[in-house]
Symmetry: D2
Subunit: 334 residues, 4 copies
């Protein structure tokens, strides 16, 4: 951390500042220049609050040069984290595809899709029971009944399941869900993150629409600070000025997150693009860039899906995609 | 709503589509061109799901031309909503300033600030008891104890209070809080919004960092659909590429929201800019642009504030600001 | 400037680096920590190329803590610049409104608008002769003939004129134009900026749609480095995810630019919002926030304007606006 | 195009509007509803100016449903354009890699890099002679001398060359340059685009930092409207709120541009990311997503490059990358 002082700082205030830094366990190195005085802080600054320093009279600016996250930080945990979901491994060279419908609609639908995606090589079944919708008048999911249908499809196919949670009070309903997904809109629902930190169950944490990669890692840190270190990071598109695609899929997140953190990185091309015909090229691109997994919407009847039909692949298109993904995997960048 | 069909649409599919529209109570008007066929839907389309239509085989694109919100829509409710908070009126020509510290820190602090801002003309006391912080290691507020201290300051000064809620399970703690604030990160925490819709208490709903004005109004619609029509909209800066200010305060939100909706519009220049020296010009600008109120951070000792010190005004600066605000108000645009 | 070295930097490389800094006239201060070594550079670093340093083997990162602009920098030029345009002063407490049509269309039109805006108190006449249009098929302006018509209106009313240049080769046509405007799309047309730096004539430099305030100041620096110090900075909206307004007007640019630079700051609410009904509140907000001037589109027949009609005020609306602007001016923040 | 009228539009004004549409060669279809009247325009609307319509009294809004570009539009030109550069084909299934240093620095440097990239399979040599730099004090390129050195390297290796132009007045210097590059900052330098439209030489048109894909296609339309149909579109990262990477590479631009246009799409991972270690995964991702080519910075001594060293690959890294690109190509999405 670098503290830049205003011109001609008061000597006493500067002494008290450097003593305060030492009391926090970080060593200040002072460089006095004719125009500017700079204090370099060396040590573990993850618990130092930049805002408190910035408010001080003699301080002009503060800059962090170390990442403010610790449990999620590759510097303190050089080995890749490998998540084990009922035998399916994700991360550290293990690649997994999660597939299924946006929403669980009926037993027939979820079971048919589950069998289809399994046949094509998917290793995890996705399906929404609680659906965050912009409009209060849109279909919001089958809730507890949706979870039951997912468990029925799991029983039938043996695929572990991933489903989105929208409120901490629903945690008991997710007892048998293998991976709990935190949606983009809840990435900074800190109360929910804290509660998930108390579980010992994998969490798929989606990046918020306008959140930086550092903020994503800080949200992972909330979960990990509670003792749950099974976190997967998911890029699903960020909001930009471009309106042709629903969001802009930021694939550079893959190598950046891999360099900053040891956690697996999953890409969701379906929500990012909002269009089935863009899912395939973006899924291949994500694979080539070194993603640890993909999460893809597949529906047996996209034209009649209760939500997000336009972005769902048919089982046949998904099957074609899976063959290409497998062909590209060996050349992927890591 | 406009539905644009693909070239040479199948006649039977088109008939079944138009019949389906009629069954939803909207009348389709078909314009057949040599290159393109367009269906114009006339009527109440707020419950028609665009995604379902877009997924149909014969459909190329769908565009909404009416707003998808109803309770918050000025077209259906031409009169300005006036919120009454213990006698303080906001909206419809009534202007109110909410002021106080970012966090409640101690009885001494909150009472001193409350008395100061009251003396300068503030009509509502703000103070955070639950603080959403990016880092799990930063100060998170005094929680229930913070609410108690706010109520102590309310008792002392008579000022109604506004404080932020972070989870629906905390609602009982807010029983005596006059205005419940929903922070930017929770603007699309739909479970929380639904619960607040069950209350009969004013809600100050902050725009999310990357949310459009239409999404803000849809979130207001979530609260209003539950029967709680006392919603105030708050612009607090959006995330852009500019890094000099913490966020970019979007003041055009004031006239735009006033034209789309009857709800009061409050501006928060403190969080938007993150810098005390920018709060004053932005507060005056918001007043001139026709805001119904301001929410401003004031701290009796910004340099030692436990959070967001750099953006807090001193009571003396706040007093100066209030005089200018009052001078500009008569010339504000409405 | 701060240079952060990789762990355990090679001693010889570090010595050669610090010697190189000294040769550039900046003094390095080295802070050696157990995890990180930091070099603080003190002195004039505006000519040090960060990219060159960043590419060095032993360097992890480089951060600038001083602004990279000099002529435009308030630190080196504390007094406000006052631009004198044929007797009209702008900056340093002098406020001026520039008004007129988006495009010059005919002698009748430009003269009628010029007389109307003069009567309402405008001090400079604006009018486009060269129009940057997204489509090659849209009206592109009257070019040289447009300039002649502007000069005719200047002769008639005595108002100095401002008009946009699109290419350095057109400079001779602008010999009698009082202020040359550089449009947002040309803010980083460095060849054009360099040529304008050779003139001794005021330049109104518009911020690009996606340019930071620092980049705007660097473009001003291009002009000033050539010896032309009569630069006015103009904020005209930035591109964000919000689609309701054409752009998002960033009014915090006013106090920020005033703190970083001594140059006058002009606001263009017409192009920023794209809607006449938003021009008025945003013009008042800009005035309250301390702008040194406004540039506003006025057309005597907006419904038949050849470009940008929807954002043009009628002369009557402009007159109303000018009265409010004058009322607010005394309370504006500086 | 859809024109939405205000409630209860005047009958005469509506008749005159529909007659006007017919005079422009587009057929209006009117749908009258109880709340809204909609006019659907069918025919070639590329020369209809939306702004003129929007300004009319009875009009509430106008929406375009057809793309406003024609020469670049796949609908009117279904076959892929294939660009032939001295025998090297790009587009329509032909893939080419352009590689070389950011700036031409010396004969020794450009020749060494040219030989290295040719040996690894690059088919075009890139090198900057005119360098747009944010700061007027940074190295701006060797200008005409740089072009001469590029031609020397072309002579040596037989590789055609691509180099950036910054001003229309420099066109004569580019007579022997095989591909003229228009940089991101000049994407809407319409005077330059018009002049390039007069040439019969391939143009590599880079997307501006904050420009939509439609605007990129409109800029291509400027060049093509002049008769030069040899345009390649280049995505090089857009500006977003994320600060970890220099820009955000928008790879969904590849399938989107391919569906909207017949022009080849080239990806520049070097400028997009600003970091050599991100170039490789992003180059592979672009290949997998179906790009028609890549443009990559390679320098024989990145640590001493005069610009953009940190994003340049070494020849050895470039060679490794080329092998992976070739392996992935057969599985790329088209």
């Amino acid at each position: 951390m670098i503290v830049i002082l205003k011109k001609n700082p008061d000597k006493n205030q500067m002494d008290s500042l450097t003593n305060w830094f030492r009391s926090l366990g970080v060593e200040p190195h002072v460089s006095v220049g004719s125009h500017q005085t700079i204090i370099g802080l060396v040590g573990d600054t993850s618990r130092v609050d930049m805002d408190v320093i910035r408010a001080m009279d003699i301080v002009e600016d503060v800059r962090r040069i170390q990442e403010p996250f610790k449990n999620a930080n590759r510097k303190f945990h050089p080995e890749d984290t490998v998540i084990d979901v009922g035998g399916v491994k994700i991360g550290g060279g293990h690649f997994a595809v999660m597939a299924g419908p946006c929403s669980v609609e009926s037993e027939e639908q979820i079971c048919a899709v589950a069998q289809a995606v399994k046949a094509s090589g998917a290793q995890v079944l996705r399906g929404g029971a609680f659906k965050p919708r912009t409009s209060p008048y849109a279909f919001q999911g089958l809730h507890g009944d949706g979870i039951k249908l997912l468990l029925r499809a799991k029983e039938l196919t043996g695929l572990p399941i991933v489903s989105e949670i929208m409120d901490a009070s629903h945690i008991p309903l997710f007892e048998d869900v293998d991976i709990i997904q935190v949606g983009a809109r809840n990435m900074q629902n800190f109360e929910l993150l804290k509660q998930l930190g108390q579980l010992r169950k994998p969490v798929l944490l989606k990046r918020g629409l306008a959140n930086t990669l550092q903020e994503l890692l800080m949200s992972a840190e909330y979960i990990m600070a509670g003792g749950n270190d099974q976190v997967m990071l998911c890029e699903r598109g960020i909001r930009t000025f471009e309106t042709y695609t629903r969001n802009t899929l930021d694939l550079s997140a893959i190598p950046v997150l891999h360099s900053l953190s040891h956690l697996p990185v999953i890409i969701d091309p379906s929500h990012a693009t909002g269009s089935a015909k863009l899912v395939q090229p973006m899924a291949l691109a994500a694979t080539a860039a070194g993603a640890d997994g993909l999460i893809i919407e597949v529906h047996n009847d996209p034209a009649h899906a209760l939500c997000d039909g336009p972005q769902s692949l048919t089982p046949a298109d998904f099957d074609t995609l899976m063959h290409k993904v497998e062909a590209i995997r060996p050349y992927a960048e890591r």
